[in-house]
Every structure is written in structure tokens, then in C-alpha cells.
Symmetry: D2
Subunit: 360 residues, 4 copies
């Protein structure tokens, strides 16, 4: 088990979905940073189930409590501990499946690894663990915003085969407000409607959908990232792929880079009076693993939720074929709720690299 992320801005998350609570300890946040509890809470709300018809109707009512590290709203430089109690512990939903590993879920691999099965099946593979990331990520984001003016905005850019498209000028000014305009969190409003329809259809089919979340980090100063193994993009990739259900990561041009020539893909420099800028940003704001002062842009692919009501032929732990139909309440598509998780992991990655960059 490795529940800590970061070298200097270190976040450790804890908690099972059916235990007392989930939370995080942030060790290494500088002293004197003003932290707003309501900003943390706002991001938790965006991750919360039951926000709309598109997500599960479970009501989690996640209230964050700060156990340490703050005094009068300012960080002390000591570990910041965030706790969200679990109110809605229903292991019984899962007990029926105790003898059957859910396909494409972590039940089987947790049992192989730890030799023990928790009531909640996949233990820490539960989506509820991400709540701790969102809370900690909000602290990181507030630090980045106050200290450097960094802005992070993620949105749903694809659900199933529906892709949202934003113009460059839309991207330049995109705010969370625009993202949250639609329940599906796609700022391309036409496509947002198509995405919603696709999700509702999947729900009606007792099936689920995957998709892509895109993210933009503005005003990241040049110089962040630690070659050769802790490159900014390499750590972002780790951070994003560590999110449950993530299957792919792409920086800037991503897989499209494969089909371009060097003369098309190169981001040529242009003077802007003070610093050098680039004419294009296929690099996604990172060169040689170090931020170049342009916006950092990346995308994360998510698989469809594996827990579905549709009948599936699979096997129990003894290898006997059985037919599985998940009961319980499950998201037909996690993408809208995963937007603040992507933002949180981006913030945790950048906050750590901000501290690792020396300004002697």
C-alpha cells in the first residue's frame, strides 16, 4: 500500500468506504497560507454523488473537518489533517457478492495481493477514496493560487462517442462556472446535451459509459518539473492514472503527435517583450519535463463504470460460472464527478513541484 503522493508537499490519504471515514494528511504545506474551508467544501460538492439525474442517487453529505495544521484560517507549516466521516455505511449491499469478484473491479486483485477481503470489496479501490484527494487537492490549489496565481480548470470533453469542442478563445477564458453550467460538466453546451442523453440511455440499459476529461493549468511559471524521472508530465501521468478507472493520459497533442511531422508539431518561439512564448502549444506547456510558461494541457481517458445492472456471465472465486447483476445505486458515468478529482491531482502534482523548484 502506498498512500502518499509528493516529495515535499506530501499528501497521505486514508479510509475505507465502509469504515469510520476517509481523509488526508498534508505534510509540507508552507506556513501562513490562507485556507478557505468553504472552497474545500465546494469541490467536495462537485464530486458528491446525487448532484443530478446523471449520477448515483446516493446521498453522502460529505462534511470536511480540519483536525490539525490550521489556526485562525492560516496554515501553521504543520501537517494539515482533513477528515470526512462516513455516514452511509451499507456493507450489506456488497455482502451478497462476497464470493464473486466483480469484473474489471479490484475485488480479485486486492484478494490476491492482501489475502484478505474487506466488506467493501476493493478496499481502497473504492471511489470514496477520491474524496480525500479532492479535499487535499483544494488545499494545494489554494496554495498555488495565492502564491503563484495558478488556475486549474478541468471539464468533460468526451462521453462515449460524443466529443465536445472548444475554440482557442473559449479555452483561454474557460472558468469552472462555464464547466458547471451543464450537469455533465461539458462547456460545449450542444454536446453537453448529447452527452446527457447518452448517459441517460446507458442508465436505462443498465449499462455505463466512459469518456475523457481535459484539463488546463494556467500561469504555471517556467521551471517546474524535476528531470529525469520526476518530470512534470511524468508525475502528472502518475497522478492521473492513479485515479480509479483512468486508462490513458495525453499531454498536449498526446496520441495525435504520432501522426504529425516535426515541422508541424514544433512549438516555435516568439518574443513577447519579457519572456519567450511559443506560437503553438502542442507540447502542452512542458518541454524536457519542465514547464515552459505556457498553459499546461492534458487529457485523461476513463473506462466505463464496471459495476452495471446488466447481466454478465462471469465466475466466482471457485471458478464456477455465474450470472452477475449488480444491485445498489451506481453512476452510469463517473465523468462529471471526476472533474474535481482531476483538478485535485493536478493541484497536488503542481504544488509539490512548486516547492521542489528552488529560487535561490
Amino acid at each position: 500500500m502506498s498512500s502518499t503522493f509528493g516529495t515535499l508537499f506530501k499528501t497521505t490519504t486514508f479510509g475505507e468506504s465502509h469504515g469510520s471515514g476517509v481523509g488526508a494528511v498534508i505534510d509540507g504545506c508552507p506556513a501562513g497560507v490562507k485556507i478557505s474551508l468553504s472552497e474545500i467544501q465546494a469541490q467536495l460538492e462537485r464530486r458528491r454523488p446525487g448532484q443530478s439525474r446523471l449520477t448515483t442517487s446516493r446521498q453522502e453529505g460529505d462534511q470536511v473537518e480540519i483536525l490539525s495544521g490550521l489556526e485562525n484560517g492560516l496554515t501553521l507549516g504543520t501537517p494539515i489533517t482533513l477528515l470526512v466521516r462516513n455516514l452511509n455505511q451499507k456493507p450489506s449491499d456488497y455482502r451478497k457478492m462476497a464470493n464473486t469478484p466483480r469484473p474489471s473491479h479490484a475485488d480479485y486483485t486486492y484478494r490476491e495481493k492482501y489475502g484478505i477481503t474487506s466488506q467493501s470489496g476493493g478496499g481502497r479501490a473504492s471511489a470514496r477514496e477520491t474524496l480525500a484527494r479532492v479535499a487535499a487537492g483544494s488545499v494545494a490549489e489554494q496554495f498555488l493560487s495565492l502564491a503563484f496565481g495558478v488556475e486549474i480548470v478541468a471539464w468533460v470533453s468526451q462521453v462515449g462517442s460524443v466529443e465536445g469542442v472548444l475554440s482557442e478563445s473559449e479555452l483561454e477564458t474557460l472558468l469552472r462556472y462555464d464547466v458547471d453550467f451543464s450537469a455533465v460538466r461539458c462547456p460545449d453546451r450542444q454536446k453537453a446535451n448529447l452527452m446527457s442523453a447518452a448517459i441517460e440511455k446507458a442508465a436505462a440499459d443498465k449499462d455505463s459509459l466512459g469518456g475523457v476529461i481535459s484539463c488546463l493549468c494556467r500561469r504555471v511559471p517556467a521551471g517546474w518539473g524535476e528531470p529525469v524521472f520526476d518530470k512534470l508530465d511524468a508525475l502528472l501521468a502518475q497522478a492521473m492514472i492513479s485515479i480509479p478507472a483512468a486508462k490513458g493520459f495525453a499531454l498536449g497533442s498526446g496520441f495525435a503527435a504520432a501522426t504529425m511531422t516535426g515541422s508541424e508539431h514544433n512549438d516555435c518561439f516568439v518574443g513577447n517583450g519579457v519572456k519567450l512564448g511559443t506560437k503553438t502549444n502542442f507540447s502542452g506547456g512542458v518541454q524536457g519535463g519542465i514547464s515552459n510558461g505556457q498553459s499546461i494541457t492534458f487529457a485523461v481517458a476513463f473506462k466505463p463504470v464496471p459495476t452495471i445492472g446488466k447481466a454478465q456471465k462471469t465466475a466466482d472465486y471457485e471458478g464456477h460460472e455465474i450470472v452477475l447483476e449488480a444491485k445498489g445505486r451506481h453512476d452510469p458515468c463517473v465523468l462529471p464527478r471526476a472533474v474535481p478529482i482531476v483538478e485535485a491531482m493536478a493541484a497536488l502534482t503542481l504544488a509539490d513541484l512548486a516547492l521542489r523548484q528552488r529560487r535561490l
Copy 2:
């Protein structure tokens, strides 16, 4: 600078392309592992420039020397130090560009980060650093092979817009021998020819091409990977994106997962007498960040080489527009030479997770 990868099987690489040499120290390799120097050398040969018309004609002649950690061909449990001397130091090729950051290269970001410019431009961003990864990766691979029977095979699956296709049975039996049959390292022989032609055309155009490398890791036992942040797939993503020019990472279904439904994408279980297997492997052998006993499959997208002979309008450090035409000898496509690098980073990732998995 963060030149160390791994928690227990720790590899530290060192060296600039125009200094005395490059190398690696592996700390944490278990004692008593038989290491073949010629296997290391063989992987270095596959990475070496000048293997074919498709790669740069520079002759590096990289001979690895082992400075510590081995006695009579067996590891001692102490740090294993691998050194490859640089024979061909030609900083002069780069000096002309001292006042101009190469577009989409790391010159600019290294200068922003370190406030100093080495003769070789991007310092550790040089492709030569990957030589140390390949040497260390071969040690990791030999350990994995002897201790667990793990097999790692990577190949070029796309160059520009040409995609190679392998059937499931071809994948099942794919060997490095098949990969090396063509100079371009694509085992789909028809497509290999098209890829070669595309690379030669790019070279003639003084341009460059990107592509995709796919990789397969067989016989990885179930249970490797450390949730929640050091998941097998998350660390693989970090490892792959840390390779120069990598732009995207995809595990199993990757971005295609976005367009599938849960009922299509789920890998249902099937008993095989001893362990549970899965009918499909869209998961790429990893569930909840832990290996499930199936083959681990992933793909890495590479951008086209940024150093091209074609004229580019860019700016020097003072912001003045200039026209840049790279001289020197450069690969029109790094993909064929990057195959052993992908294998090496996969081996380093798996060796570390193998040691982190307890078998109490």
C-alpha cells in the same frame, strides 16, 4: 533534478551527453542474481544510433563497464554501477545554437530552471541519458526473468499514420526476434515496409515522424502494484512519460475505453482450474492498480523528433526572430531505437513492484 526511479529497486542515472560518460547505479537488486553482461550489451545495441538507414549515422560504440555490485557474475546485494564512456564528444555541433533555444526541445526550460546552459543544450534532456536506462533496465529484466519468468516485448505499432496490426495469436507468441526482423521494429511486415518508406520520405524532406510503441509483459504474477498512488499502471505511466519525446500513455484499451460501454469493456472472469482468468483483457492486466495475472499491455505515443533540418521561424533568447535549420546528424524517427527504452522502463517499474510485494 530527480534522477532516481524506484522505492526498493532504485535506479539512479547520471551523465551528460558531452561529459565523460553516462551510467546508472542500481541500489536494491537482490543478492545472488546471475547477470549477463552480453544481454545488457545486446539491449544497448538495439538503442544504438547507426543501426540502419532509418536512424542517425552517428556511431556511438557504447561499451558498458560494471564498476561494482557483481562478483563472479552474481549480484552481491550491493549497488550495481554501470558506466558507458562517451567517445564521441562534439559540443561544437551545438555551440552555434547557443543563443537560440531549439523549438520543442528542452534548451529553454533547462535555462529557466537551472539558470545555466550546458554545452549540450538540454543537459540531461539528451537522448543519450536513455542509454543508462537501457543498461539498468536490462539488469532489472534479467532479475524479473530469473525470479519470476517475466517476459517483456515492445514493438513499433505506429509510425506517422501507418499502424501495424497483430492478431491475438501473433501477440501471444511475439518475441524480440520477430520485432527485430525489420529495421523499423514493427512485426507486421507489410506495415513495416510502409513505415520505413514513410521515415525515408521524412528524412528526405528534412523532417521527422512520431509514432506509437506498444508493449506486452507476460507472466507478471497477480498482486503487484501499490495502491493508491503507486499503482502498477500509475508508475508505468510515470516511467513511460519520463522517456524523452513521450506524449501519451494508454493501458489496455486506453483512449478507446472512452467509447465503450461497461458491458463491452468488462473483463469477465473464467475459471481455469487453478486461478481465475479473464475472457478479455481490456484492462491491460491491471485492476485497481494491481496486476491480475493477465499480460500487461500498454502503448506509448511519441512526438516527432524536434530537431529537423527544415527551416523554422523561431526566436533567439533575446526574442529576435531567426530562421533555424539544424545541421548535425539526427534521427528522422526515434521509434525503432526507443523500443529497448520502453522495455527498460517497464522492467524497472516491475522489478520495483516485485520487491514491494510481500509474500509473507
Copy 3:
């Protein structure tokens, strides 16, 4: 701030003495270990203020709550979170001293480092932080006991100039029961009385006393410890000196080794049928940083408590001379309460090295 100890058995502590609570997250404890809450509580009781006349009369009433990582009394392999709420928050005791750094306390250095002063003065330098260590250490100790039969016993071997003496046979059979027989936790009963008298005299003088705690770890298997920097004794030294007020660490013969010759000090081997033993144990159970199968023995020196009622001429932050007389309730000697802290840090060190030792 660096609140994490350990590489594989990783403990992160959190909490200020005047915040909501203190606690710890243990990440990396193997799954399936039976953990007794009452054993944790028992060690907390031994650390608790107000146990006897010899310690402060503050009543902390520390009840540990487990927030995650256990199900039905067994570890899940997931992070174990331990929380002790603060009931008795009295920052007012300290407010008077807001403008004066307490001599030989951490007020001044915390202010220099973090640029901020918490209500509790030294922030995490408070003795209350050690409560989290004791709780986490008990989990580590239970793991070590169940998995390897390791036994850890610490005791007060010196208070002021009074030194306790134990014969070899007394050491061999020493139990916590013997240690706890006297309030001062010295199993040499005669000297225990003298120590108590010395502490009571110091209290009457509004002064304080230091001393030495000795510790014995039995049945540690040969082979634990990671040369060259994470040697068993080196990590023990770090662990012990990280305890508030610790000033010295000695393994086995310690500083007395300086006055011995090699022929006196060498622990010659002797066959015992199965393994090799040693005739003497000046080494303290560690050779070359690795346990040799003998008992691990070490001692830790503690300075006298810096907070005293006696008047002291010192300076406030502006440099003006003032006379300071601490009010509040303070221990005249922390040694008796520090015994479980030494045991806890020994357990955390050994548990980590146990996991780092491979048994392929």
C-alpha cells in the same frame, strides 16, 4: 516539516497540542495482523500525564479511536488511522509567554523557521505529539510480536546522578511488569526510591531533572538493517534523537567503547548448535548495521525539562532582558513517561526494517 517515519512501514503523525486532536496514519502494515485496541490504550496510559506524583497533574484522558485500516480486529493492508481528540485545550496558559521564547524550548526556532507562531508555542515540538508515536508504535509492536516474537522493554536507568543497575540475569527476564513496579519505571528498586526522591526534590525546587532510558529488543532475527545509510543502529539513532529532549544515543557499549581495546570489546562467536551466538554483546546486537540475532540494546539520554518554575534571566523577542517564571503544570522529570515513547520508536524502526528485509 517531515512527519513521516519509515520506508515501507510508514507512520505519519499529525496534530498540535491545542488543536482538535493528534494522531497517526500507518501506511504499509501488512494485512491480516490482529490488533488489540486495549494494548494501544495501555501504552497510552503509560505515557499519560498525571499517573503519579512524579509527573504533571494534568489529566489528558487520551482515548484512541481507529478511523480506518481495521475490520473485525484485523488489519486490511490499508492505512491505519489512529486519532486521539484533545479534551483539555488551554492555550491561555501559554499566551502570556507570546512575546518571550522559552529557553531551550522550540518557540524561537519554530518562529525562525515558519515565520508564524502557534498558540502552543513550539507547534509540533509539544510533548503531546509523542502520543501519536506511542499509539502507532503499539501497532508496530503488535505486528513484530505476532510475526516474529520480538519483545521490546525500556526502563529508566538514570535520573540525575542516580544510576540503576541490573544484572545480566535480571536483564534477560526483564518485563514491563518489573519496569512498572515503581512509579519512576526503574526496575532497580533501591535506586528507584532514590530517583523518586531526587525528582520530588527537583519539583520542590521548581527545577527539573534529566536522565537516561535504556532499551532491550529481544528475538530480533539476524539480517535486519539496510547498509550503508539505513543501518539498523543509524535509524534507531534517528528515531531516538527525534524524541523531544533526547540529547544522546548509545548502542551497546556506547561511549564506553571509546575506552576499551579491541580485544576487550570484540564479541567473539560461539556455536550454539543452530546459529552462531556471541560470548559478549558490546555490539548491542548490531554489526555492520545489520542485526546479528543477539538482543538489541541501546540507551537514550534526555535533558532536564526546560520549562521550570524557577526564575530565569532571559530575553524577549525584541532582545530586552526579562525574568521568566513558568506557571502551568509541568513534569519535573519526563523520564518515566518517556519509556513507552522509546519503546514505540524502537518498534516503528524495527517494523520498517522487518519489511525491508527480503526473505526470498
Copy 4:
């Protein structure tokens, strides 16, 4: 095996005494630091065997080569690799002892841990490994000196029962020149003669002596050290106890603190116009794990060299009693040569904490 020290200024050492060479990779040294090769070499000379009658007559002739990380005498911010080739490989001296573990040496524990025995007996427990520490420590020291004006001076303060004594004013101005005045490296010249005589007598007796090295670090700014586990004194303790043969560590008053009262031991503050100073320095320059701006003072106890010519009754690996008389050339007392090792480990500790301290 854990051959890396430091979190941001990370040093990895490698090499067996009878392999090709020993060396170190420093990852994380800031760019632009001027490094003098001759200063490194000078410290290596002080560690070298054969400097005087008091040390072994082996001639190692250790020439350091820099493989990476420097260009034109300046650090690049990339890993600095230092290599010293082994010229004098004489495994035959040790082969005779292949079946007998040397008492109080690491032969037995290395075999228990790694299940393999290298020609050199204790593998990395060899004193030759410290050569890499001295080389890397000199780089750290040069960085600390240039960036902060830090000065580090260690000396032999005790050999056997002879203790050197320095007045406060002698301490204040003590330089390496004063230390090196006597071959035994004790600046108390009278006691230096007695120490030399004691060592010569031990040599004549085919025996060996231990002792104590004291160290002083001047001009360390207030604020270095990372509570609660990576306190300055805790990491110093780890660093010092990781040196072969070290048995004890004492900060400031050390074990003498045990016999003092709080009113005697407290370092009361005094204004000095700009910052606060302290009237005394029993704390050894560290409070709450953080430097307070006073000199950092500590002492390290070393056991007598275990390899002695005198006959010892011990057992071979099969448990048969044998009489062992070491041949070869060995130091009767390592203290004089260990002075630069103590300085090196102090420098590596401080350089890391310097980088970890933020100056926002």
C-alpha cells in the same frame, strides 16, 4: 541495501573495496556552484591510510575523477558523479578467513542478510566505502561554504582514556590547520602526544583503541531541520551512526545532560542587536530539531577497530572453536582518519536540510 542519503541533496554511494572502484552520485546539488577538485582531493588525503605511523601502511593513492555534473568547474544542476578507482585489490588477504566470521565485524551479518559472501568479507561494510562519503561530503561542504558561509571542523577529542580539552576561545577559532598539526588530529597538543603514545602501544600489543570525535559547525543559519522525524539532530545522529564503528552520538551536552538540572542546562536568550543569541550552548545549536543560529556541536564515539593481530578464541561458520589472529595491515586506531568522514557526513546532512528549508 540503502545507499542513498538525503531528500533533496541526495547522495548515493557505490563500490566494494575489492571491486573496480568506489564512488558517489550526488543528485540535487544546485546549479552554478563552483567546485574545486583539489579540495575534494585534500579531504581524501586526510582519510587516506598510510599518512603516519599511527595508521595502516597500506598505500591507496586515491585519485578522484568526476564523471558528470560539472562543466568548466561549475555544477550544472545535474547528477555529480565521483569515482575513485581501486588500485590495490588484494582479496587474498581475506580468503583465508572465508570460513570464519571476524568478531565484531560484518561478515556474519552480511552472510545472514544477503546469503552470499563477497571476497572482501563485509562487502559494503568495508572502511573503503567511506571514501565515497568523503568525496561527496566535500562537494556538500563547498556548496554550504559558498552559499551560506558554513564552516565544519572535526577533531579527535578522545583516544582510549585520554581526553583532549579545548577552551571556549580555542573552540571559537579552531581550524583544520590546528587539527592537522598533530598526526592524531587532536588540537590539544599535550594530549595529542599521549594519544599517539597510546595508539603506538596498542599497535605493539597487536590490539586497537577506540575514541571520540567532536565536531563544530559554525554559521548554520537558524531554521534548518524538519520536525518531527527529520530533525537536524535526528538526521545528524543517523548520519554519524551510519559511519562504520560508530557506537554513540551526543548533541551539545549529550549524556552529561542527564546529570544537570533544568536551571543549569537551559540556554537563556540574550539580545545581540539583530537576532537573539543564547548565553550558553548546552543545546548544541539545535532546539526542537531546528538550528537556532548558534554553533552546532556534537560528538561521536567509535569502538576500537575489531580486526586485531592478537589471538582471539572465536568460532567458524560451522560453530567450531578456532583461534583467530588477523594478518594484513590494519589501523590500530581509526580516529585520526575518521575526522574527514565525520565532517563529510555533517556536510551531507546540512546541505540536504539547507535545501529543504524554504525561504519564500
